[in-house]
């Protein structure tokens, strides 16, 4: 299906080679270069968090856990959680793919505030510096949730440094979200109406609303914890009548919507991939748009389902449970619409579509088990077990990371101007899928049998399943390392891709690959819907036939 690239269409001067000094990268205002700065940084953090996960799995081979002390194990899972949540998953799709693609998809030359965009990367790195510092000097053992009073009073680890890191990281999110919202509102090309926006832009818009409206609450919550810890003024301290549950309310008001920060952009990527490889219009475009906004909104009203057994009022628990079920509706709309888009499409099983199909399968499993967790009675049984761990890894790794990799493959020719090795990439996607299920599916069973999370010793009858899970880890690791290697190779030595190797719709494919510095020589005028595959020349023949008759 790939057309041989026309040598003339490959831009000789592009955003990558226009300036070559180191300073031109570190002081760039170009959204595409900033996206690559983010790509490099979050890949580093992903490896850091991944190593911690590997070490945890190795420890869990044996029921008595003889490799690490319990303190070290606690620090490992905290490191894994903090790094993966705030320094990899949350910035992954928005800051890499979103930064690169939003201006290109809406027909703009850059973000509304290019300098703020660069500042957000520096702020991100500063936050990362604090987090790495906290890890290097001794680590944090509270878990990524920082529950009080353990974090504020009893933990003997570097909580404040880590909290400062996450606080700073939050401002990076806020700046990114603010920039995205203003850009989408104010810089759309002529003719690019709201309902002609690609679905990826819609999901990033919804995500940005969460960035902007939820992150400040996390910032103030962690500030209060740090104040309580540093100055002994106990705002959540039960000794003077404060309430640790208030911390949980404030923390989850951010951290539940944060789950949608991770998965909404992933859903947007999947919509793009499915449309491009099924060569079909997205079924029910409007419904998918409203579903994105609906998920962003409902996501704010369900945080109490993390607190069913915490001592929250039963009535609040019932309401939060009901609202959690409601989130399933827009999520299911999306899954059905992707399936319907595939129906009667001309499907080619290129690597990005393999990732997309993997996403749908794993997201569905993660979503269905989410419904189990949303039911009050079931949740009482499985709270804080491996069932929860498996559930959110199916959403965050099986969902968000699969979509991230799928998106990286799909837009790789646009970012670098070169193709990745297709056969190897397909194998990597399949290895990743197998490794993922091998690692995480046993955890559902373990959790349902009652194995609690965050323990490094466990009864012997759980060993078999833990062993299978640990065996899955290197497979999963190979699934991640392979793309890192061949994409790195292909960005220099891959076959030239040409402007539109997938023959896809979308303004980003109308620019040369790699795009020039300000994206468009002339701002395009948009006249069609985003997924007008039925209007492409390849479909025109069929149209002509029906017309003749």
């Amino acid at each position: 299906m790939t057309l041989p690239p026309d040598p003339k269409s490959i831009s000789t001067v592009n955003y990558l080679n226009e300036e070559k000094t180191v300073a031109s990268w570190f002081f760039t205002h170009d959204h595409k270069r900033i996206a690559l700065l983010y790509l490099a940084s979050i890949t580093f953090f992903f490896l850091l968090g991944g190593v911690a996960a590997m070490l945890m799995r190795i420890e869990l081979i044996h029921p008595r856990g003889e490799l690490f002390t319990s303190t070290t194990y606690n620090k490992l899972f905290t490191l894994h959680g903090v790094i993966m949540v705030w320094f990899f998953l949350i910035p992954s799709i928005p800051n890499v793919l979103g930064n690169f693609l939003i201006p290109m998809m809406i027909g703009a030359r850059d973000m509304a505030f290019p300098r703020l965009n660069l500042i957000s990367w520096y702020v991100f790195m500063l936050g990362g510096l604090f987090a790495v510092f906290a890890i290097l000097v001794g680590g944090v053992d509270t878990g990524w949730t920082f529950y009080t009073p353990y974090s504020s009073t009893y933990s003997n680890s570097w909580v404040i440094a880590m909290a400062v890191g996450i606080f700073i990281n939050g401002f990076s999110s806020i700046f990114t979200g603010l920039n995205f919202i203003v850009t989408v509102h104010k810089l759309r090309a002529p003719g690019m109406t709201w309902f002609r926006l690609p679905l990826f832009v819609w999901t990033l818009y919804s995500t940005s609303l969460i960035f902007v409206l939820a992150t400040p609450v996390l910032a103030i919550t962690l500030t209060l914890v740090a104040l309580e810890r540093g100055f002994g003024i106990g705002i959540f301290d039960p000794r003077i009548g404060g309430d640790p549950l208030l911390f949980q309310h404030l923390f989850w008001f951010y951290s539940h919507p944060a789950v949608y920060i991770m998965v909404l952009p992933a859903m947007g990527v999947i919509s793009e991939l499915i449309a491009a490889f099924a060569r079909n219009r997205v079924f029910g475009y409007n419904f998918v748009v409203y579903a994105s906004l609906g998920i962003a909104f409902l996501g704010f009203l369900v945080w109490g389902h993390h607190m069913f057994v915490s001592g929250q009022s039963v009535y609040a628990g019932m309401i939060f449970s009901l609202l959690s079920f409601f989130v399933a509706i827009p999520s299911a709309i999306k899954v059905f619409n992707w399936t319907a888009t595939l129906y009667k499409g001309s499907i080619t099983f290129d690597t990005p579509l393999l990732y997309a199909l993997g996403f749908i399968a794993l997201f569905t499993i993660g979503g269905m088990t989410g419904l189990m967790l949303a039911s009050l009675a079931v949740d009482v049984h499985v709270t804080a077990t491996y069932f929860v761990v498996a559930h959110f890894h199916y959403i965050m790794v099986g969902g968000a990371v699969m979509a991230y990799l799928g998106g990286i493959h799909y837009w790789f020719p646009k970012i670098t101007g070169r193709m990745y090795p297709e056969t190897l990439a397909r194998w990597a996607a399949i290895i990743l899928f197998i490794g993922f299920n091998l690692t995480f599916f046993p955890m559902f069973i373990l959790g349902y049998m009652g194995m609690p999370r965050r323990y490094h010793v466990y009864p012997e009858e759980f060993q078999m399943l833990n062993f299978i899970s640990t065996i899955g880890t290197p497979v999963l690791g190979i699934g991640y390392l392979l793309p890192l290697i061949y994409l790195g190779w292909a960005s220099f030595f891959g076959r030239l891709a040409g402007p539109n190797p997938w023959n896809a719709t979308g303004l980003e494919w109308q620019t040369p690959s790699p795009p020039p510095k300000e994206n468009f020589a002339e701002i395009p005028v948009v006249t069609t819907e985003p997924y007008a595959y039925h209007l492409l020349p390849e479909a025109a023949g069929i149209h002509q036939e029906t017309h003749d008759r």
Partner: protein, 92 residues
């Protein structure tokens, strides 16, 4: 400029007046409920500042929406948190 000056001065005068009222009302023996009038007046004063000092009155509808969204989301947070606390069967 003079007309503008008078306009802003009238807003300032209203704010001073509301400040006097809210301070006076605080001396009424409303006990646990004394927050109610003063918070309502605080919202009125905030509204005046947003409309006139922050020039929301002359701004596009998008800015009205944005200015309301922060308060709307805060009210969601407060609503659900308060819901939990008032429906607990045990003290607090």
């Amino acid at each position: 400029m003079k007309a503008k000056f008078g306009h802003y001065l009238r807003v300032l005068g209203s704010l001073y007046l509301l400040l006097a009222i809210t301070t006076g009302l605080a001396f009424l023996p409303l006990d646990a409920w004394n927050w109610l009038p003063s918070v309502v007046i605080a919202f009125v004063m905030a509204g005046l500042i947003m409309l006139f000092f922050m020039r929301l009155r002359q701004s596009e509808p998008l800015l009205w929406l944005t200015s309301a969204s922060g308060f709307a989301w805060l009210s969601l947070l407060m609503l659900f948190v308060v819901l939990d606390y008032i429906s607990r069967p045990w003290p607090r």
